[in-house]
């Protein structure tokens, strides 16, 4: 299960070849190019856009976690913003009460997330589809209101400030330092994600996605693997939430509203549910587009009169794009990329003789 293995590519003749991470020259070329661009990006970006890139990197971690649950295992979750809030509040609470350092809060948030994931995943053992969606949505509201009560009690409702973190004596205060730290984190998370997908966990999750009854018949313990999927996904989500808290420097429950949930759903839907590459593309798309729209409006004198309406139009545009992808291209950006690639691969022919 490589980064691009859902794409039509060469036929594989052994299991080892099938599970190789970078299996063809094409994939190797693009992986190296992508890494090079990512490393060089801050050189051409202003401080503001480096900040946007940092938010995008954090969003990639969160979106990969959501994709693990919704795309790979096929369990719909509408509690994602609540889980991110749980991670951010774990970091904030540890700093406020125990003055915990940066390096401690991240694993702590992941641990809290793993436990939370089991709790939220328990209904998934009995419920499917729509009923599961509703129970996770209810969990979202319960978490948000609970954290709001906590915030009101501890900080008199204003929220928590946490200072710039320091790692091995180095204070991560500038966006540039954040960028390289987050890039490293994203690469590690990506590697972990891909390793999950190409080992027994991922195979079991995909089997459950395709048909849980068939998965059970194959000897997969559906209950255990469903809970594992929830636990792994929520753990990673809370980890992203803690990163978010440190990077933003301020944690308040208002940030984790329905809108954040929709943003993450947009990432995985626009990217293409189930595709790792698509999730990354979707996260970049969903995080950068609002800033591009704002910049475009500022540059265009005709649209300047819109003022505060711009934010509303952005949200509406997200809704429309999500709808268009759901109706017209359910495989998302990954699906478009796949078709473009197939076109060049097969040229001058149009159809291949085998199914990928």
């Amino acid at each position: 299960m490589s980064l691009f293995s859902h794409l039509p590519s060469t036929l594989r003749t052994s299991y080892a070849a099938d599970s190789r991470l970078l299996d063809t020259a094409f994939v190797r070329f693009w992986a190296v190019t992508g890494l090079g661009v990512a490393l060089a990006l801050p050189l051409i970006l202003t401080n503001f856009w480096t900040g946007v890139a940092n938010q995008t990197l954090i969003a990639i971690v969160g979106a990969l976690a959501l994709n693990l649950l919704m795309g790979t295992t096929g369990q719909i979750s509408l509690g994602h913003a609540g889980f991110i809030a749980a991670g951010a509040f774990t970091a904030a609470a540890l700093v406020t009460h125990l003055h915990a350092p940066f390096i401690v809060t991240l694993p702590a948030a992941a641990l809290i997330g793993a436990v939370l994931g089991v709790l939220v995943g328990l209904p998934a053992l009995r419920l499917k589809g729509l009923y599961l969606a509703v129970s996770t949505l209810a969990a979202h509201f319960v978490i948000i209101v609970g954290l709001g009560q906590y915030q009101a009690a501890i900080s008199y409702g204003s929220g928590f400030s946490i200072g710039p973190p320091s790692l091995a004596g180095l204070e991560i205060s500038s966006e540039l330092r954040w960028y390289y730290l987050l890039l490293l984190v994203v690469l590690l998370v990506l590697l972990m994600n891909l390793n999950w997908l190409r080992t027994a966990f991922g195979r079991a999750w995909m089997a459950i996605h395709h048909k849980d009854v068939a998965a059970e018949a194959l000897g997969i313990n559906v209950h255990v693997y469903k809970l594992l999927a929830f636990s792994a996904s929520t753990s990673l989500t809370c980890f992203a939430g803690a990163l978010w808290a440190w990077h933003t420097g301020f944690v308040s429950v208002e940030a984790f509203d329905f809108h954040m949930l929709i943003q993450y759903l947009a990432m995985v839907i626009i990217g293409g549910l189930g595709s790792v590459l698509g999730t990354i593309l979707g996260a970049i798309f969903a995080m950068v587009l609002p800033h591009v729209i704002t910049a475009a409006v500022e540059k265009t004198p005709m649209l300047k009169g819109l003022g505060t309406q711009v934010f509303e139009l952005q949200i509406g545009l997200f809704g429309v794009i999500m709808l268009l992808f759901l109706i017209l291209e359910p495989r998302g950006l990954a699906g478009i990329w796949m078709r473009v690639r197939a076109y060049f691969q097969l040229w001058p022919f149009k159809y291949r003789a085998w199914e990928s």
């Binding site: 209904p123 419920l127 949505l137 509201f141 319960v142 947009a266 839907i269 999500m322």
Partner: protein, 290 residues
């Protein structure tokens, strides 16, 4: 006594909302998370009607109901029909996307300002004194009447009217219904239109009683809790579900803390999903289990 009255009014409001969820679920097996935004949209048409017609409630309500019916039909034709046959999750995600689109459109058209349509209406029948010391306002009395009328009306419609029988057929087995010559797309469009009208009625009442603004979509969203508790495919279940949710909400607000009442519907829902996921009157086959 007044506590019971508050619960009854809240339950009636939830009944109006929940019926919309049930109508849509019976037709297209979708949980419409855009219901709250449809409610706000309809209520804003009502408000616009009031302003334009100079305070005529009848004209404004007719305009709002017509607009809502058209919106409901349009949503079905443009979004839900192309998505027929996809997994339930896709339908739910589509309604979320639709919801934010509608909310954004509402805010752009009417601005995010909070309005009070009651100011344009004048006195709505005044109040009635039930027993000494306990009185009910005109709007509250209308909410209860509307909820009772809606439950009875929809039940009767499903029993007797040809379209209603078609709706029952679609709810029971959509493939068989289509084979027996029922125009399922027309039936589904009618269901969506009717649900949008129910949402609008609830929205009109809420905006007259409390306020109107794009942020009240949250109130409409909470309506799925009574529908699920009663059973997503059961019309009479909604009333009981609404009563349970309203009681939990009002009692939590009175005896625990006002903030708790915000999550009370969802807490009750979590318990209900744990105990009886298919709802009190819902059909058990609806729930596929491993």
């Amino acid at each position: 006594m007044s506590l019971l009255l508050i619960i009854a009014i809240q339950a009636a409001f939830y009944t109006l909302l929940g019926l919309g969820y049930v109508l849509i679920y019976r037709a297209t097996r979708v949980l419409n998370l855009a219901h709250g935004d449809v409610m706000v949209f309809g209520a804003f048409i009502f408000f616009q009607g009031l302003v334009t017609s100079g305070g005529s409630v009848v004209v404004a309500a007719l305009a709002a109901l017509t607009g809502a019916a058209l919106l409901g039909g349009l949503i079905y034709a443009s979004i839900m029909r192309p998505l027929a046959g996809y997994p339930v999750a896709v339908g739910v995600l589509a309604t979320i996307a639709l919801g934010i689109t509608l909310r954004s459109a509402t805010t752009v058209i009417w601005s995010g300002q909070t309005r009070y349509p009651a100011e344009h209406v004048g006195r709505l029948g005044g109040g009635f004194e039930l027993t000494p010391g306990v009185s009910v306002s005109g709007v509250d009395a209308l909410i209860i009447l509307a909820a009772v009328a809606a439950i009875l009306g929809i039940s009767l419609f499903l029993q007797r009217a040809a379209v209603g029988v078609g709706m029952r057929g679609v709810a029971e087995n959509v493939l068989l219904a289509a084979q027996r010559g029922i125009n399922i797309h027309a039936i589904n469009a009618v269901s969506w239109a009717a649900a949008a009208m129910m949402a609008t009625i609830a929205g009109i009442f809420f905006s007259l009683k409390v306020r109107l603004g794009p942020d009240i979509w949250y109130v409409g969203l909470a309506g799925f809790a009574p529908a699920l508790i009663g059973g997503m495919d059961s019309v009479r279940g909604v009333a009981l579900g609404a009563l349970i949710v309203a009681a939990a909400e009002v009692l939590a607000s009175r005896y625990i803390a006002p903030q708790v009442s915000l999550v009370a519907p969802f807490l009750v829902l979590l318990v209900a999903l744990w105990l009886r996921p298919w709802g009190i009157f819902g059909s058990r086959e609806e729930l596929e289990r491993v």
